[in-house]
Amino acid sequence: MSEKKKGILIPERYKPVLGAFIFFVVMLSAFIASSPDVFLSIGIYSAVFLSLPLFAIMGLSLVFVTAAGEIDLAFPSIIPLSGLAFAWTLQQTNLNFLLATIFSVVVGISCGLLNGFLVTKLGLSSLITTLGMNFALIGLCNVLNNGAVRTFEELNDTRIKSILVGSFGPIPAQMFWMVLISLVLGMIFHRHKFGLHVRVAGDNPEAGRAMGVNIERTKILCFTLVGLCASIVGILGILLLSTYFSTMGEAYLLPVLAAVFVGGTPVTGGKGTIGGLVIGATTVVFIQTGVVAAGLDGHWTSLGFGLVIVLSLLGHRKFSGRLTR
């Protein structure tokens, strides 16, 4: 009905994406208006594109978990723990990249599986379970790492590094990986039956069970995806800086969650948007980079985040009309 009043027909499912996009354009315009010389140069965009993929890849997996009606707060610790597995194996094997990647992914997936089992099989609240796991895993990571900072200068000129985090002209290579992973996960979320089952799990699990959908397995796979993405982010993060330190996951928690919600995935579960997430992540990273580039104190970033999250939620509600209860 609201569609007809406005005289434009936007399919319901594209509204959150469009909402997130309009929000991004407004924000960008505000930045450009405030300091045109900074935001009309290419430098700022290269800076954004450097770290955007890491936040976006993490956020993609969070869309699945959120749409499935759960939340995962453990990823900021899975990143350094699986990252440690990567860094440690690199050191032990004299830079065997393949082995290090496999070990890192196994660690990430195991953490995700553990979260999934705790939440579905034991019926624990995902908010509290993963909050606890966040503490437990970073504790484990610190115990194992013992405060070491591991540097990998020798990786600097390797082909593997330039493929994963090098650059194609002004565009960092990780942007291509982000696009690729977004496309794959977007197809799965919006077009694959697994994506449908994820959304049903968050909306009406009883309906899914009555129709023979394995809701528990679906949710466990969502948590596992978070573990997998965390390990990818860990690996890319280490390669990007050629350094491992166990606090590398700390900066992710709030921006990634913000990206999910700014992107138009409701916290209530049952639906979500991959395209929106990418735009949401861009918005969030832009604030981080933009506030500093605009010459403001870094503390303004938090204020900016807060405003953006609240305003975007209002925007999404206004936009999707009476459907968002």
Binding site: M187, R191, N204, A207, M211
Partner: protein, 253 residues
């Protein structure tokens, strides 16, 4: 109408501890027939439904006969495979998903990698919606279920039963808590279900609804069948009088 019953219950009993929920039930369900199953709370309607749909097994001495063959280890998966589909009130739909996603939930048409064939699902949903008599032209298969009225939602759940080659559709209180117009819509869906060749077991508290759609009445009281007969020329008033007669008898004893 063929005379072979789809499902035949012979001497079915079900007890929970010392309490008989069902006692010596002998009941046939024939093709192309709408049976209204009525009775008070605790009369055994839902227990009977659960036994037919396979979610609960009867006590050992009774028999369930499907297509003239006795079945063993009856389960809901087996029931569904044999064309017996149950539509539960309010439990079957994911409201934030589209109509076509709901219709095909759990039985998606996919390519071999599991990606949903949207075009085909949407086309088939359109055909279904026409078949079941969706009068509203506002909705397309892409509309999400939370925009539909209660009656229309029931329609989506019912159309699922048509799609999956079911022969006997059990509708558990499909008109409960509905406005009159919505209930009328559901009754229309039910008649269309019959027109498309399905048998229906219609379970209801509402004697008018039960009367309106039925070809045959089965009245349960305290786990026993007290009446099993065709509607014939029985009016709604006669039917209600009949219900009262059994209810009164029940109070006296």
């Amino acid at each position: 109408m063929s005379n072979e019953p789809i499902v035949k219950l012979v001497n079915v009993n079900k007890s929970y501890g010392n309490v008989y929920a069902l006692e010596d039930i002998n009941l046939d369900f024939y093709p192309g027939e709408i049976v209204s199953l009525v009775g008070d709370n605790g009369a055994g309607k839902s227990t009977l439904t659960k036994i037919i749909s396979g979610t609960e097994g009867p006590d050992t001495n009774g028999k369930i006969i499907v297509d003239n063959k006795e079945v063993t280890n009856w389960s809901s998966a087996k029931a569904r495979a044999r064309g017996i589909e149950t539509v539960y009130q309010n439990r079957a739909l994911s409201e934030q998903q589209s109509i076509y996603d709901n219709v095909f939930l759990g039985r998606e048409i996919t390519n071999r990698f599991g990606f949903i064939n949207r075009k085909k699902e949407i086309e088939e949903t359109e055909t279904l919606m026409r078949k079941i008599g969706y009068t509203s032209k506002v909705w397309t298969p892409l509309s999400s279920v939370n925009k539909l009225s209660g009656g229309e939602r029931q329609g989506v759940a019912i159309s699922r039963a048509i799609l999956f080659e079911s022969r006997l559709v059990i509708l558990d209180e499909p008109t409960t808590a509905m406005a009159l117009t919505e209930a009328a819509e559901v009754l229309e869906f039910v008649s269309n279900l019959k027109k498309s060749g399905k048998s229906v077991v219609f379970i209801s508290h509402n004697p008018w609804d039960a009367h309106a759609v039925a070809d045959r009445f089965v009245i349960l009281e305290r786990g026993k069948i007290v009446f099993d007969g065709p509607k014939g020329s029985m009016s709604a008033d006669d039917f209600i009088a009949l219900l009262h007669k059994f209810a009164k008898k029940d109070i006296k004893s």
